[in-house]
Amino acid sequence: MKARRVKGLEPDEALADNAERIVRVRLGELCAFMPAAADPAQVVALHDMRIAAKRLRYILEITGPCFGPYAKTATSLVKELQDLLGEIHDCDVQVPETVAFADALMAADAGALRDAAGDADDLDPALLKQAPHAREHAGLAALEAHLRARRLLLFDRFLELWSDAERKGFRARLEYALGERADVRDPEPR
């Protein structure tokens, strides 16, 4: 997902004023994925929301101390969100990989069993013991079930985390904090 261009950035102006413009855009990008990403089938929206969370997290980690106190809370929340969306994304990548790997082993076994049958009229089930990957299918099926169940669980946690953030006024409070300026000392002598 390509990040939206932030207008009005001025290299000679204060860090906080420029950072505020960037955070407002990145926050808007993140929040725009809801409610679409609340549909568990919207894998792409969820993946893009993870990228948006990552961008918001990094700008907040660097420039959060410029703003009001809620920016720190928001940074932790966005990190938690990004981590959770990352775990869901891993499941979305690993389920099809596991299925493809299991399918390849299954196809190899089918080919090997066909060869073993030779000129027989039908396939003798007793030949199954000779399948090169016979002992491997059960574990891969268990892994697939585990990954699918984990994805369901993590997705429920994501919905809970987001609704909790909304209930606590995440967006409005962060927007308010962006209008505040922290009173910090000069980081190094000029």
Partner: protein
């Protein structure tokens, strides 16, 4: 560990000066983590370097308007290539680690399938390591660290000349 150095920021500091300062720190962290990164028995080094590459890429993008466009594009492209190569190595590391933990929780009869998948991932890990070795060499040959520092220098405004200096020049 992948913990980044905390960098103090001053809200009033010019955006370009903060960008220069932060890029210098994050570029240093990236190359500090390069040692031992090709050792597949130690997955923490590559993790730390990958996290450092992500942080560096993020600050480059955040402070992009502060840098001269022509040089910035090339440097960012090289950082992205290195970050991608670190990902090619890191992804199988993480997957192998998770599968090994998962395998321990399984009944004995289910373990061979998971072990077979780990074997397959070891091959991906080795290919990722070859790619990473090539990208590290490329970054060294193209002087990426020096170019990042030069980019940071270019973002800094020239100091205001003292009144006397301006007349003497």
């Amino acid at each position: 560990m992948a913990k980044a150095e905390d960098i103090d920021v001053d809200p009033a500091e010019p955006y370009r000066r903060a960008g220069a300062r932060i890029v210098r720190v994050r570029a240093g962290e990236l190359f500090d983590h390069a040692e031992g990164v090709l050792d597949t028995s130690d997955i923490e080094s590559v993790h730390a370097m990958r996290v450092a590459s992500r942080r560096l890429r993020a600050v480059l993008e955040i402070f992009a308007p502060c840098f001269p466009g022509s040089e910035f594009k090339g440097v960012l492209g090289d950082v992205k290539r290195l970050a991608d190569a670190l990902g090619e190595r890191r992804d199988p590391d993480v997957h192998i680690d998770a599968l090994q933990r998962f395998g321990k929780a399984l009944a004995a009869g289910n373990r061979p399938g998971v072990a077979r998948l780990v074997e397959d991932l070891r091959e991906r890990q080795a290919r990722g390591n070859e790619l990473l070795a090539a990208e590290l060499e490329r970054a060294r040959a193209r002087g990426l660290h020096g170019r990042l520092l030069a980019l940071a220098d270019a973002a800094e405004p020239e100091p205001e000349p003292e009144p006397g200096e301006a007349l003497e020049a």
